[in-house]
Symmetry: none
Subunit: 189 residues, 4 copies
């Protein structure tokens, strides 16, 4: 029942927003009463926190796997990571949208925990960029921090518009983004 509640909440929070979704609506969807909700969660924020943590921890785990793959060089790791983010945002689209939109409603205590993990994710990517620079795979004079922000902007923003049922698959989008990031769009003269 707890998992069911999480599932329908993800659906509703995505569709209507956290504040705009009432607990009544959540329990109605499951044919139970509000009391039942409070048997499983201490309050509405705890539910949101659960959704947030599930998502960021999933991302961090996937990221870890890529970083520890010794068979890949930095470029391949970057590609893998971009693909992973696009893929994850897409597979768990609703969670992703909640993750990016509903941070304010977490409440100070949970927020801190959450921000820490977000930062961890970004810093892991940044470290990969720096590694690539050191190893001579990427240009030397890059501003690793800003490059990382740029990459994350590109990929994260996909939560806003990307529809994998459209013309472009996640793989193709990965190719396009990786190509831009590595080689740019300039016509070399």
């Amino acid at each position: 029942m707890k998992q069911k509640m999480i599932d329908v909440s993800i659906h509703l929070f995505d569709k209507k927003g956290f504040t705009e979704t009432s607990i009544q609506e959540i329990v109605d969807e499951l044919g139970v009463t509000k009391g039942t909700f409070y048997y499983y969660f201490t309050n509405k924020q705890e539910l949101l926190t659960t959704i947030h943590l599930n998502f960021i921890e999933f991302l961090l785990k996937k990221q870890e796997e890529i970083l520890q793959d010794e068979a890949k060089d930095s470029r391949e790791k970057l590609r893998a990571m971009i693909y992973m983010v696009l893929q994850s945002i897409n597979e768990r689209k609703k969670s992703a949208r909640i993750f990016f939109r509903e941070m304010r409603n977490l409440g100070p205590k949970y927020l801190e925990q959450n921000v820490e993990k977000r930062d961890q994710f970004r810093k892991n990517l940044q470290q990969l960029v720096e590694e690539g620079i050191h190893k001579g795979e990427f240009q030397e004079d890059l501003h690793a921090d800003m490059v990382t922000r740029g990459i994350l902007g590109m990929t994260n923003w996909s939560y806003y518009w990307y529809n994998p049922e459209g013309d472009v698959s996640a793989e193709e989008l990965t190719d396009i983004y990786v190509e831009i990031l590595l080689n740019g769009i300039n016509k070399s003269d």
Copy 2:
């Protein structure tokens, strides 16, 4: 008074969120009563819509100016546009954040109007990319739509994190992003 109301609303909607800000709080800030609010706006959504339209129309106007500058080639126009977006998001940070976050609360009628202008903005950028391709400034085989999405992701995402008081100025960030977009981060062999 109407403008004052818009101004404090921008401040509050940014700080607390649209739904989380009550009309009481808005009018308290101005030392008037709720009735006064309803003298100037038919409802809360109309106020939000006003804020949204102000922002997107400002962006569209700026964009227009760049597009019509015949002295610039496509690369220069792209640079100008990236700079303009970063700059605008930064100068009107609060409006920008409301613009990106509080779309859901516009209500179907206003939403449509708004989406149209957003799309217009994106399509204008896409047209610029396509122009660059045709003119041989950008590579031929680019997926203009996805490239545009990538550029917007990079730039728009800055509303999420960018702090111009930090190490990197808007000009520098523009340089970094333009460099990535045009030439990539790859170390050319």
Copy 3:
């Protein structure tokens, strides 16, 4: 409307208890809605506080009048004060009962304010007892503090049981209590 709300609340809080009385019940009695209640009071506790302060301030004012009456000696002042308390508890029986019973529900901030005034009332009485001792009207070796507590116990307790429609009027009860306090019930040998 605010005064009306206070009035029916006094009635209901006395009859059912503070916690046991809902705001719905209060407003139903007046044919208005809950919103109206919150137009006049910031919360339920504020209403209770108002009732408490009204009562204790009324008592303090009456007490002051007696203390400043220079025509009376200590015995007469004591009699006057006992009569005043019995009279007040009786006239404002409902407020009195709320005052004695519903202290716990005041909330820390309001409680402090309230306790201060209660203490003031008691200390004023104690001072009268001490004065009587100094002036040779009361016995020398009295424990003024405990005597004061005893007097207040006698009189305040009347909120618990006294019914002026019964055999004994407030004046008669005053006589009885004063007689006990001054001369005791002992049969002098």
Copy 4:
């Protein structure tokens, strides 16, 4: 387990009030679940009733012992009774406070039973007063009912303020109250 429940309830009802204490809090304190509570009590009111009856029956038993002590005259019995009440209120302070404060929440059925015993206690004291009058120990013209009320006010009120850790022991307070009641505070001329 049942007795444990009564004990923690006395503690909590005293600290927070009957209505303000939830059954959840009671069972949490014991590490059991709410179901367990309902195995031992049919409802919350029954628990309160148990506490009330325990206390008043304890008082009645003590009172009985005093009344049947043929070695004491009326004055001595009165002293013994005052001491017993002060002592009992003090030793069982929490129960006493619940007893005096939480009568309203007993529910009509239990209330009646309770009031009967309270009345019995008062009438027993009144009878003692009357006896003292008949035997010539107390003055003839006393209003026995009101005198009894006064005595009970003095002693019962101690639940409200008396702290035996302070300057005055229960024995001393008894002496003070008995002295007032028997001989008054007047300076005999």
